[in-house]
């Protein structure tokens, strides 16, 4: 079976333009970091040195 080739539907940039895609990536990256920051602050306790 031949491998799929790119379909014509993927020709245009998603979300109507690359700047929007880049902005989405950056915003999501910051959101994930904020979530991990909250996660760490909420659950993690630094181990005191012996």
């Amino acid at each position: 079976m031949p491998d799929p080739v790119p379909s014509p539907g993927t020709d245009g940039p998603p979300l109507g333009g690359w700047p929007r895609v880049y902005a989405l990536v950056c915003v999501l990256a910051v959101v994930v970091m904020l979530l991990l920051w909250w996660f760490t602050a909420h659950f993690n306790l630094r181990m005191e040195a012996a």
Partner: protein, 585 residues
């Protein structure tokens, strides 16, 4: 391993080799062999990018890292999404504006043949060094799991991967990567399910997080660095003690964001084993999409892998932990020479485990969380530290490793924890699938690097310097032969590699020596228009010299080497460009 596991594992290996070999028809031209005929869909290239980076290291090393040190390693990836966006903006249009087969071809047009060759040699050197480790890691796992010698595992992995990569070229690499990535994700999810199945009847998910967090394992984002001094210590002075500087903390959000940004810019944009994917799609749009797949998926995937490591630690905390994970340690501990000392350690360890279990149960019953009872928290952390200390003592005793002064040193077993867990705890079929996933992870990284090494050698060295007039068919034949040669070299390097410590760190350390300079030369091309051939070549040498100087003289963690290398190239290259400009006036 049971028969059914062997069957699952063997079927997977056979399928991957067949799937790679059947791509041979697409590998009859240079563009077909090294760029997939520019017909690879973005999602396949994107999965291949992720599979190449994943490696067996992601499964073995990172879960071990999570078990031993918690989740702080995820911070290394914080710069990745931003790096991908910058690459989409600056490098993808550059690469796709001409029909190049390696990123270093672009450098010739900008700086001349010397800089192109130097950059290509940097890539060849760094990747060749790291490839030995990439084969070695899963080989150790395999030898521990199914009773083969490490060298036998190295030969099996090296031979099978080289076989389908030689025949099928980059198309074989990418399409096998797609299947391998699927198996990797499936394997990880299965392990997660098994862990939760065993842990949730004992503690609720919230209690598990409290217990792991109280042991400092949920350190996914550390804003406050442990050391705040900004002046790096001299290497000699640091040996005598003193307070470490900010630059010596391996993982925090700052090293991850800035050091990680430079590392990933260079790795995905300038390392041919990854940048090659950007050249295999139809156009720049598709190349961008393949890069952005990692931008979305990589950090969550790393969180999942590290969380599995933390859950493995909780599993051993709840159900009892072995004193030693490494097979060679266990064998040495059983010898008559070691037995008396090991027996004493085992007694102390059993007592320490009982104490940790008691403190864990005490902590889990505190309704308002561990912080509400400082005494219970202090006792729990002390019990966790006691277990860590005895394990370290045992590893030092049976490991047989010595430091530079001849004193016994810790022989870490970070890379053996995952293997021990899988071997002891996984049900039939799942074990076979997970071993297949480890192999998949190893092969998906090795095949990419083999094809990229061959591509850079043929395109940047052989065709550029040795046989510029050779025919396309001849170049493809040489490409296949060189893939075979690199496969043999990589397998040989793995046979001589004796790794200690965390494999995942070793790979990043190797890369960090070279990556900053590689990135710097592309940055010089983009942002210093007046920089010419001399500035390019001297800048590249300057960047490497700066990294080596920092490594030898200062105590600075490896992620920062990427920044040093890049800034070194820009500073030296920029300065030379300025001098050249004044001369020509």
């Amino acid at each position: 391993m049971r028969t059914i596991d062997w069957i699952v594992f063997a079927l997977f290996l056979a399928y991957v080799v067949w799937d790679g070999v059947r791509r041979r028809d697409a590998a009859d031209s240079l563009e077909g062999y090294f760029a997939g005929g520019r017909r690879i869909p973005w999602w396949a290239a994107g999965l291949s990018i992720m599979a190449t980076q994943a490696s067996a290291i992601t499964i073995i090393g990172t879960t071990g890292q999570g078990h031993e040190y918690g989740m702080d390693f995820v911070q290394t990836y914080f710069g990745l999404p931003f790096a991908m966006v910058l690459l989409c903006i600056f490098l993808v249009p550059l690469y796709r504006s001409r029909a190049i087969l390696t990123p270093y071809e672009y450098l010739e047009g900008r700086f001349g043949p010397v800089t192109r060759t130097l950059a290509s040699l940097l890539f060849l050197g760094s990747r060749c060094l790291a490839l030995g480790v990439v084969i070695y890691a899963p080989s150790v796992a395999l030898s521990a799991m199914i009773g083969l010698q490490t060298w036998e595992s190295v030969v099996v992995i090296g031979t099978l991967t080289t076989l389908y990569t030689v025949v099928g070229g980059v198309s074989a690499v990418i399409w096998t990567d797609v299947k391998q990535m699927t198996v990797i994700v499936l394997g990880l999810l299965l392990i997660l399910c098994v862990l939760l199945r065993d842990l949730l009847p004992v503690f609720s998910f919230g209690q598990l997080l409290d217990l792991a967090g109280a042991a400092g394992k949920l350190n996914a984002l550390e804003v406050e660095p442990a050391h705040t001094g900004l002046w790096p210590r001299l290497a000699d002075a640091a040996a005598d003690g003193g307070t470490p500087s900010f630059w010596e903390e391996k993982y925090n959000v700052w090293s991850g964001l800035f050091g990680g940004l430079f590392l990933h810019l260079s790795y995905f944009g300038c390392d041919h084993s990854q940048a090659q994917r950007l050249l295999t799609s139809k156009d720049a749009q598709q190349s961008r999409l393949s890069l952005l797949m990692s931008a979305f998926a990589k950090v969550p995937m790393q969180v999942l892998v590290l969380l599995i490591g933390v859950l493995m630690w909780l599993f051993y905390t709840v159900h009892g932990q072995p004193l030693l994970y490494k097979t060679t340690h266990v064998e040495r501990a059983a010898t008559a020479e070691m037995q008396p000392q090991v027996a004493v350690l085992e007694q102390r360890f059993a007592a320490a485990l009982r104490e940790r279990t008691a403190q864990m149960q005490r902590l889990a019953t505190i309704a308002d969380g561990p912080e509400s009872d400082p005494a219970a928290l202090r006792d729990y952390q002390a019990s966790v530290r006691a277990v860590i200390a005895i394990r370290r003592e045992a590893r030092t005793l049976v490991g047989g490793q010595v430091d530079g002064d001849g004193r016994p040193k810790d022989d870490e077993d970070t890379n053996d924890i995952f293997c021990r867990f899988v071997l002891d705890q996984m049900p039939p079929v799942v074990l076979g699938l997970i071993i297949a996933a480890i192999f998949a992870a190893a092969m998906s990284s090795i095949d990419s690097v083999l094809n990229a090494l061959s591509g850079a050698t043929v395109v940047d060295i052989y065709r550029r310097w040795l046989r510029p007039q050779c025919s396309e068919a001849h170049a493809v034949r040489v490409g296949k032969l060189l893939t075979l040669v690199w496969g043999v070299v990589a397998t040989g390097m793995a046979l001589f590699f004796a790794g200690g410590g965390s494999v995942v760190e070793q790979i990043n350390k190797f890369g960090s020596f070279f990556y900053g300079s590689l990135l710097g030369i592309f940055a010089l091309a983009l942002f210093v228009p007046r920089a010419g051939a001399v500035a390019g070549a001297l800048g590249l040498c300057g960047g490497m010299t700066a990294v080596l100087a920092v490594h030898w003289t200062l105590r600075v963690e490896f992620l920062w080497y990427n920044v040093v290398g890049c800034v070194g190239v820009l500073a030296v290259g920029g300065l030379v460009a300025l001098v050249e400009r004044r001369r020509t006036r």
